[in-house]
Symmetry: C2
């Protein structure tokens, strides 16, 4: 194949553009999923689809899953890409001026395949920083992966040092919630603690896989609660995760205070191993 | 002319579409202005442009004002529309995957002309409601008219009754901030009070014209502060305003409590009259 990437289809048509009247463009009125493609399939697609469905229900966007599956199959077939990243954006489609929902909604399905390689070096450990930017709290938008991402963009402008891989975001109360593109876990006394996302943050697919499948399978329990600076400082291990990159051990967190240094630990390594086994089992 | 509206140009090309890789579509990474066009000109354009400039500075989008003016002049010339609405959307342009800013940014300028008539009936008085949806507080996004508008969209889904023209939004502390598409003023003892927008809300052009020009010109002082339910309940007059619709007296606000009823008052009428005079003076 000699495709140029990203290979993109809009409503099933490769090369199609977006209407300037699309509410995704006008208001960020939609949702997206970023998925790992490996061995030609998306092993976590069922979980991504479930989150997308939940997001569409929250925003009242009438998702047509069969149509989405059709577009996905067609794009995968056109690309014949084995390893990479799949991104789907679903918006409320074309609308008039003003925030009121269109009388009839025809969602826009924008699917993109990237031939991006996974960063294996980061699986050995990454350096993070603590961002100044805070996440605003709004339960009606928390958890879902919507298109209103200016907080993450502003946070990402705070550093240029390429040694720093990602930035941690707190809410208004100084509780750590996530990084700009991953969820956060800390390990203490052999157990996991990950932030409560009921008021802000994105409930990640890899986070879900860890709490529901990988950690229980390894005999590790997970607590969902508040994560403060002192929780971080006293953590035995820290890692971040997302559906594309998997699990990245955190070796250092830089902030205005003294940097926090973490050793790479057994629990994180065990979860990385469980994830590799899970992926191997998923795709035969 | 026999244009079909909206007449839209993207980067100066009428009929052009938006790239699926535009960061406006991907993340709501941009800003917009909605302006009243009257007698073929945009009388408040200087104020709109100043807010757009401030928003672009906040988001670090390199606005090219001369280019924008060029595109605007070309679109107005192509349309030859006398009365309507002009909307401009400026985004960070095309980018790769991820929140980090592109190495080189070429903003997208999407300009649209609508032949929408102004609703004169609403200048006699409108009915509002109080929304359940709250505005999250984030000082780094407050005031500017960015493209992350899911809160307004969710608020607007709360009612279908066409007698209700707009909904009022509170912040997390129960302070009234604005309606989904307008700013809020209350009149008490001959003076104006309008919400502080330092932590959420859009700093409207008409609000600015009122506080800086129209009210002082009529000898009316304006306080910027917190507006609570009891402030609303005890108000002598209430009005909302935006750059397109001007000033709309509020005659009723419905909520879970008893509806609040307001008489149309002299101060609101004086400001409406001052606005008409201002517009007449602006366009000869």
């Amino acid at each position: 194949m000699s495709n140029s990437y990203p290979l993109i289809s809009v409503n099933g048509v490769i090369g199609q553009q977006i209407s300037p009247l699309d509410r995704g463009f006008a208001y960020g009125d939609g949702l997206f999923e970023t998925c790992r493609l490996t061995r030609g399939v998306i092993p976590l697609w069922a979980l991504h689809k479930a989150r997308l469905r939940a997001g569409c229900e929250r925003l009242r966007i009438p998702l047509d899953e069969a149509l989405l599956e059709h577009y996905l199959a067609a794009l995968l077939s056109a690309a014949a890409l084995a390893e990479g990243i799949f991104k789907v954006t679903v918006t409320r489609g074309v609308g008039g001026r003003g925030y009121g929902l269109p009388a009839e909604v025809f969602p826009t399905y924008c699917l993109a395949l990237y031939d991006t390689a996974i960063n294996l070096a980061h699986q050995q450990g990454v350096v993070l920083r603590v961002c100044q930017q805070r996440l605003a709290r709004n339960a009606s938008l928390a958890g879902i992966k919507h298109l209103n991402r200016l907080e993450q963009i502003l946070a990402r402008t705070e550093w240029q040092d390429t040694a720093i891989v990602d930035g941690l975001l707190m809410d208004k109360n100084g509780h750590f919630i996530e990084s700009t593109s991953s969820n956060l876990f800390i390990v203490r006394k052999g157990q996991l603690l990950t932030p409560n996302l009921s008021r802000c943050g994105v409930a990640g697919i890899m986070r879900q896989l860890i709490t529901d499948v990988l950690a229980p399978g390894a005999g590790i329990t997970t607590e969902i609660g508040s994560v403060t600076l002192s929780d971080l400082q006293s953590a035995d291990e820290v890692f971040i995760c997302n559906a594309v990159n998997g699990i990245w051990p955190v070796v250092e967190i830089r902030s205005e205070a003294n940097p926090m240094i973490f050793s790479q630990g057994n629990i994180t390594a065990a979860l990385q191993q469980a994830l590799r086994a899970y992926f191997s089992g998923k795709v035969i």
